[in-house]
Symmetry: C2
Subunit: 499 residues, 2 copies
Amino acid sequence: MNKKEAISFYKQHIKKIKAYRLVLSTTLFDRRTIAPKDGNAYRNEMLPIVQGEVYQLQTDPKYIETVLYLAELDLGEVMNREISLAKKSLENTLKFTKEEMMEFSMTEMMANDAWLKAKKNNDYGTFEPGLVKLIELRKKQAQKRDPKKNAYDIFLDDFQEGMDRKKYDHFFSLVKKELLPLIKKINRKQDLIDDSFLYKYYPVELQAKFSKDILDYINFSSDWGYLGETEHPFTNGLCRNDIRITTHYYDHNIAAAIYSVIHEAGHGFYGHQVDPKFDDYMFLSHASSGMHESQSRFLENYIGRRRSFFKLLYGKLQEYFPENLENVSLDQFIAAVNVSKCTLIRTAADELTYPIHIMIRYELEKDIFAGKADLSKLDELWDEKYQKYLGIHADNVSEGILQDIHWSNASFGYFPTYALGSAIGAQLMHKMQEDIDVDAILEKGQFKKITDYLKKNVQCYGNLYDFEEVLMRSTGENFNPQYYIDYLKNKYSAIYKIK
Amino acid sequence: MNKKEAISFYKQHIKKIKAYRLVLSTTLFDRRTIAPKDGNAYRNEMLPIVQGEVYQLQTDPKYIETVLYLAELDLGEVMNREISLAKKSLENTLKFTKEEMMEFSMTEMMANDAWLKAKKNNDYGTFEPGLVKLIELRKKQAQKRDPKKNAYDIFLDDFQEGMDRKKYDHFFSLVKKELLPLIKKINRKQDLIDDSFLYKYYPVELQAKFSKDILDYINFSSDWGYLGETEHPFTNGLCRNDIRITTHYYDHNIAAAIYSVIHEAGHGFYGHQVDPKFDDYMFLSHASSGMHESQSRFLENYIGRRRSFFKLLYGKLQEYFPENLENVSLDQFIAAVNVSKCTLIRTAADELTYPIHIMIRYELEKDIFAGKADLSKLDELWDEKYQKYLGIHADNVSEGILQDIHWSNASFGYFPTYALGSAIGAQLMHKMQEDIDVDAILEKGQFKKITDYLKKNVQCYGNLYDFEEVLMRSTGENFNPQYYIDYLKNKYSAIYKIK
C-alpha cells in the first residue's frame, strides 16, 4: 500500500460507512418523530442488523491497516486531523464485539421506548429497568475501554475532549458559589415581573406557524432544514444540506417552543455552515458537543432573549395571539422571557437557573458511575437535588427524572456540555459585541450578519481544530468561564435591581 | 448443505436483506415526504451505495446455491411458494450487474426530483430528459431479461403475474365498448347534479383534521399507521405494523383528499392484515399489484361512496365546514361525490371515467415500448388521447402528463393494475353483498366488520396464492370483468336516468 492508494481506499471506505449512517440516521430520526409505535418491535430487531454491518466496515482489516498506516504519515492539516480522529474512534470500536454493539443498540432503543411510555404515563417504574440496564452496560464498556480510568471521565471526554470530573468540578463550584446566592435573592423578588401571560392558552397549530416564522426570520431555510415535533426537542444533521430539528409544543407555554426552536436552529446552523470541503470526511463535522451547545445556547439566549431580536418579530406573535398579547408591550414581553425563577423543566429554564439544572444532572451522573448512587432510588435522588438547590419538588415524575431523553439514549456525560456551551457562548458573545453592533444589526433584521459571523469565526472550522483552538481563533483567548458568570450576574442583578 | 441448514441459512439471510430494506424504505419514504430538497444530491449519491450492498446479498453465492437447492425440494405450502418466488426474483436480479442496478437507482431518483420540480413549475421540459432516459434504461433491461419477449409484456407481468398486452387489450376493449357510449350520454346531462360546493374553499388544516377522523372511523390506527402529505398520494408498508400512507390536500377540492385517504387506507389494511405468520418471509406480503389496487379501490369506491358510509361521518364534515356544507344534505353530498364528469386528474376521477384515464396511460405505455411513440412528443400524445376519449384538454401540463408520479419512478406497467383492481373489487363487492348486509353494517358504524371480511377473504393470504387463486377462494369464481362493467353501467345509468 502506498500513500495515494491508502488515501483513496480510506475515502472510498468511509463513503460507504457514511452511506450506511445516512440510512440509519434517517430511520432513527423517523423512529423518533413519526414512526407508529407498533412497528418498533420489528424496527428494534432490524436496525441492529444494519448497525452490525457498519461495525463490520468499521473493523474491516484493510480499513484498520489503512488507518494505522496513514496515521504515521504527514498528510496535510485536514487529513492529519481526520486520521487522528479515525484512529481514536477505531481503538474504541475494537474494544467491543459486533454482538456487544448490537445488544447495546437494541437495549438502547428499548429503553428509549420505555422512557417515552413512562413519561406519558407518569410512571418511573416503566423506565427504571431499562435505565439500570443501560447504566450497567455503560459501566462494563468503560471497564473494557480503560480499566484504569474512571468511567464517567471516559464519557465526559467522549462528548468534550479534554474534559473530566476535575475540570467540571471546578466549573460547577464556580457556578454554585457565584450563582446560587443570586438565585436565592431573586427568589424573594418574584413579584417584580409579570410573566403570567406566557402561560395562557396558546393553540399548538398557531405556535407551529409562528415557529416557521422564526425560522424564516433567521434564514433557517426549508430547502436544507426541517422542523418536526417530538416529545423532546433535538437536532439531527443528516448531512450539511439536510438538517433536522424538532420542538415540542405546550399549549400553556409559548416561550418553551420559541426558545427550543431557536436553540435547535443554533445547532442546525452549525451543521449547515461547516466548510463544504469537509463533506467528504467522516470526523470533521463539528468540534465537540460543548461547542455545538455553545452555538445553540448562543442563538437561544445571547441573541433570542434580546429586545432587538424581537423588535421585528413581536408584532407577528401578537397577531397570532391577540387575546393573550395585544395588551402586552414588547418591553413587557422581553421582561417576561428574561424572568428568573426556580422551575422544574431544564429546557424551559431561564439562563440563570439553567446551569443548576445541569449541575444536578452532573452530580447524579458522577455518583452513578462512582457507585455512590442507589440505582433503585434515582427518582428520589433527583428530587432531593432539586429540593436542595432550587427548593422545588416535582409532583409528577414526568417533570422530574423523566423529563429528559438523554439517559434513555445512554448519553451519560452529555448534560455538562450544555453548561459548558453556555459558558463558551458568553465568551463568544463578549467578543462578538466588540466586533459588531449586535443590537443595531438585529433591529434592522439583518440576521444573516449574525449567522455569518458564527460561520466565519466558529462553524466553518468543523472539527479541523479542537474546541480550545477554535475558541482561541474566534476570541483570542483560552476558555474562560468568568465571562459566563459575569454575564449572568450583571444581567440578572440589573433585572432584579440587586446590588 | 442439508434441508434444515438450507432453510436456516435462507431465513437468516433474508432477515438481513429485510433489515436493509427497512432502512432503505424508511429513507425513501422520508425522501418523498419531509426531506429538504437540498439534501437530495447527497442522498442520491449515498442511497445507491446501500442498495448496492443489498444487491450483494441478493446475489451472494451461498444464497443462490441455497435457493436453487431448496427449489428442488418439497417444503410445504408456505415455503414452497416463498422459494418459487425467491427463485424468480433471483433470476431477474442476476440479469444485471451491481453497477447497472446502482446507475438505474440514481437515474430514477434524479428523474423523480426533476418530475417534482417540473410539476411545480408546470414545465414538461424539466422532466423530459429524465423520463426519456428511464424509458431507454427500461428498454435495455427488458432486452436483457428476455430478448424474445415484448418489453411491455415483461413489465405488465411484473406487477400482475400472468397479465400481458393481449389480456389487457381484451379488458380495455370491453371498457371502451361498454363505457365510452355511456360516458358520452352522461356528458350531455351535466346539469343534473350540483357538485359545485365540493370545489369551494376548504382550508387544508381542517381537511387534515377530517382525514384523521376518517381514519379513526375506519379503525386505521396511529399505533400502526401514519398519514403524511405528499405531492402524490401513496402507501408504503415498512412492515405489517408500520403502514405509511400519504395524501395531497387541494384547498378547492374536498373530495380529492377524502377519497385519496380512503384509497390509501385500503392499501394500508392489506399491508396490516396479512397473516402474521408471513412476517418472516420476503415474498409473501401481497398477491399482486392488481390485488392491492382491488383493496384500495374497494374502500374508496365500493364502500366510501355509499350513503351508508357517510351517514355517521357527514355531520362531522359539516361541522368543519359550515359555510360550505350546512345547507347541503347528506343526499346532496353523496350525489355530488358520485357525479361523473370528464376531468383531467386521474386520482380525482369518478368511477366511470376512471378506467378511461387508465386506458390512456396503457395505450401510451404500449406505444412507448413498441417504439411507436415519438418520445420527444409524449406530452402532446398525452393530450391527444385526452381529447380523443374524454374530449378535454389540459392547459397546464401539470394537469396533463406531469400529474402522476409513476413514470418518474419508472413504474411502467403499473397503471393497468388500477383498472384491473377496480374490476376485481367489483367482483368482490358482488360476493360481499351476498354474504353480509353492507349498508346495514355501515349505518351502524361497524366498520370493523368490513375490514374483517376483507382480511378473512383476501388480505390474510398475503402472497401465499396468486391473485386468481385468492379470487377463487374469496368469490368462488375466476376473474370476470363483467361484474365491473355491469356495476358501472347500472350505477351511472340510474344516477343519470339513462335507459
